[in-house]
């Protein structure tokens, strides 16, 4: 049985008269580093929202590890093992950096809510464990030194990395990164690229990412799907995409 980690089959969503994503299909295998690109308004983020349950697909199916997740609510999908970051950073602003990551980790822990209200030893122990795990992740994303600052006080690049750390904390099998390099300088992008590779190689996650920076995507991703106006116009390895006339037209068309 050849099972894909994620399989999007003919996914379509319409908002009123507007078809934001039209008949898009792609598959991710375990350990893929997969890119989703396209000009502005191509429907990339909407694809992420379909996969993570923010929107329900109008048509089509989405299978995660063989079972359908289309229409499940976001927190159920997170529990199944898909986590994400957001294009417009959505951190828990007034909480500290380490607390942001702990909230992600909360998902895999099992003490009852009541134990927290009564501050029972089990809850205390679990909180300590979560904190330790969160610190480990901050170490990986190179954020450990600002663990106790409020997340809103972090510089932009660090906020993006914190989002990834928070997503990693839910221990997902598949992680979706929505424009992780946006607003970063070349050096930060370089570091981010290394971090994403580490996530795949060391933590053995499957990664699906949206990115505008072509150099970033072409260097990092092994396979790429290109969307334009909600439709899939090309798919394949970076070299093929780079020379695909339809892709060039879509991007040039935007430039003109």
């Amino acid at each position: 049985m050849s099972q894909h980690v994620l399989e999007v089959k003919n996914a379509t969503i319409r908002f009123g008269g507007l078809t934001a994503v039209n008949n898009v299909s792609f598959q991710l295998n375990k350990g893929d580093l997969f890119g989703l690109i396209g000009p502005n308004g191509a429907g990339k983020t909407t694809c992420f929202n379909l996969i993570t349950g923010v929107y329900k697909p109008t048509e089509g199916t989405i299978l995660f590890q063989g079972s359908s997740i289309g229409g499940l609510r976001p927190h159920h999908i997170a529990k199944r093992g898909i986590s994400r970051t957001f294009q417009n950073i959505r951190l828990f602003n007034s909480l500290s950096v380490v607390e942001n990551v702990m909230i992600g980790g909360q998902l895999r822990h099992k003490t009852a809510m009541a134990s927290a209200f009564f501050h029972l030893p089990s809850a205390i122990k679990e909180t300590a464990e979560l904190r330790a795990k969160a610190m480990d992740l901050l170490e990986v994303m190179d954020l450990a030194d600002s663990a106790n600052s409020r997340s809103i006080d972090l510089p932009y690049g660090k906020q993006r990395r914190l989002e990834i750390a928070r997503a990693m904390a839910t221990q997902p099998d598949l992680i979706l990164l929505d424009e992780p390099a946006a607003g970063m300088n070349p050096q930060e992008k370089e570091e981010l690229m290394r971090a994403v590779r580490r996530i795949r190689d060391e933590f053995e996650k499957t990664v699906l990412l949206i990115e505008h920076d072509m150099r970033f995507v072409m260097n990092l991703c092994e396979r790429i799907v290109v969307l334009d106006r909600g439709e899939e116009i090309a798919a394949g390895p970076p070299e093929a995409i780079r020379n695909d006339p339809k892709v060039i037209e879509a991007y040039l068309g935007e430039a003109v």
């Binding site: 976001p74 959505r90 003490t111």
Partner: protein
């Protein structure tokens, strides 16, 4: 075993505190002050439990008095019909009623919360306000609980230590929650629902838990209030009451348990304190029309001056602190000044006793605090020994600088 030693000691401390507060009431010896002190204990529970819903979980509930009322009425009726003075010890009965009232209010919280918590912001606010009014109006239409004339609960069971015990429990539950990882998910819902659900947090469940626990605590507070007073006026549970509880939460600093508790005491005691204010000659304090104009003029001037000081002294330091204190205090000199200067003009024809003005002052305090400290007096801060230490060290640094 260290854990259980600490836990046992804190429970003992809670009991000691509760009985000390009960003792304080009888030491004062003044019936009126005794009542105000204990009612402020009830409001601590109300404010801290609403803080769990509004402050910590970020839901906009402005109908908290409904749950307070349900606790009071349901158990008041049970005491009236079922309490047997020869049978159970009254204190034990009251404790039992506290649980009954909490369950009743909690169930109502569940019924209200499940469908309405998917509404956002202002819509949730108006639905909770609506439930508040519906419950109150229903109570005025049921003759068995006294209707509009009010409900006599017989017998009264007065156990002030229970009021304080409940306040301590309420504070402890909130604080415990925030100390643990579970509590973080409540903050997460408040900060960003989309992000929290992407992190696997079941927003609805968190909201309902906060709503039910908050309502249950308010219900228990209602039980104690009803049996303490022995008489319930349905008007006391209207939306004005809910606004006052909400005000305590916001004034103290939304999300801050310390702030809610202190604001509850402050706002309960302030109007009563104003009622008894005397001038130096021992008469009841009064202002003439000039003084009233002075109060309004001083308020406006104070807001202006405090904001101005911040721009005039951009650097925090000794000068800035002094300027701010001055800006807060100096404008109030206008009150006695205008009170005296305008005394002979027609503007000053009427005099107003401070006890008549107390609700005006209450409203002014509300507006002034919001203008000068919009996130409440405590902001997001909590009382802790470390916080106190850092405050002192900062103060010392300023002194040496």
């Amino acid at each position: 075993m260290k854990f259980w030693t600490v836990r046992l000691l804190s429970v003992a401390a809670a009991f000691a505190f509760a009985f000390a507060m009960q003792g304080l009431g009888s030491v004062i010896g003044d019936d009126y002050a005794y009542r105000v002190i204990n009612v402020s204990g009830i409001f601590i529970t109300l404010a801290v439990s609403l803080n769990l819903i509004n402050g910590i979980t970020g839901q906009f509930s402005i109908g908290h008095a409904a749950f307070y009322q349900v606790g009071a009425y349901v158990t008041g009726y049970m005491t009236l019909k079922m309490f047997d003075p020869g049978g159970m010890h009254p204190t034990l009965w009251l404790i039992m009623m506290m649980f009954v009232g909490a369950v009743a209010a909690g169930l109502l919280g569940l019924v209200v919360g499940l469908p309405s918590l998917r509404l956002r912001g202002d819509y949730l606010a108006i639905v909770t306000l609506g439930f508040n009014e519906i419950i109150r109006i229903i109570s005025t239409n049921i003759p068995e609980v006294g209707g509009a004339a009010g409900f006599n609960i017989k017998p009264k069971i007065v156990e002030p230590w229970l009021i304080w015990m409940l306040a301590v429990i309420c504070i402890a539950l909130s604080r415990n929650l925030l100390k643990n990882a579970h509590g973080l998910t409540f903050w997460a819902v408040r900060e960003d629902e989309v992000a929290s659900s992407a992190m696997g947090v079941n927003n609805t469940r968190i909201k309902v838990v906060a709503f039910v626990v908050g309502s249950a605590l308010a219900g228990a507070a209602g039980v104690l209030y009803g049996h303490f007073e022995g008489f319930l006026d349905p008007k006391v549970f209207g939306m004005q009451q809910s606004f006052i509880i909400l005000t305590m939460v916001v004034l103290g600093g939304t999300g801050s348990i310390t702030g809610s508790a202190l604001a509850a005491v402050f706002l309960t005691v302030l109007p009563e304190y104003l009622r008894d204010l005397k001038d130096p000659t021992g008469n009841e304090l009064a202002l003439n029309g000039g003084g009233i104009i002075g109060v309004f003029a001083a308020s406006i001037l104070m807001i202006w001056a405090v904001k101005r000081m911040k721009t005039m002294f951009p650097v925090k330091g000794r000068n800035r602190s002094l300027a701010e204190v001055g800006a807060h205090l100096v404008p109030w000199a206008l009150v006695p000044l205008l009170n005296a200067v305008l005394a002979s003009t027609p503007l000053a024809a009427n005099t107003y006793r401070v006890s008549e003005l107390r609700m005006v002052f209450f409203a002014l305090v509300l507006i002034l605090v919001m203008q000068l400290r919009p996130s409440g007096v405590f902001g997001h801060h909590e009382f802790s020994w470390n916080w106190l230490k850092s405050l002192f060290s900062r103060f010392r640094k300023e002194q040496t600088a």
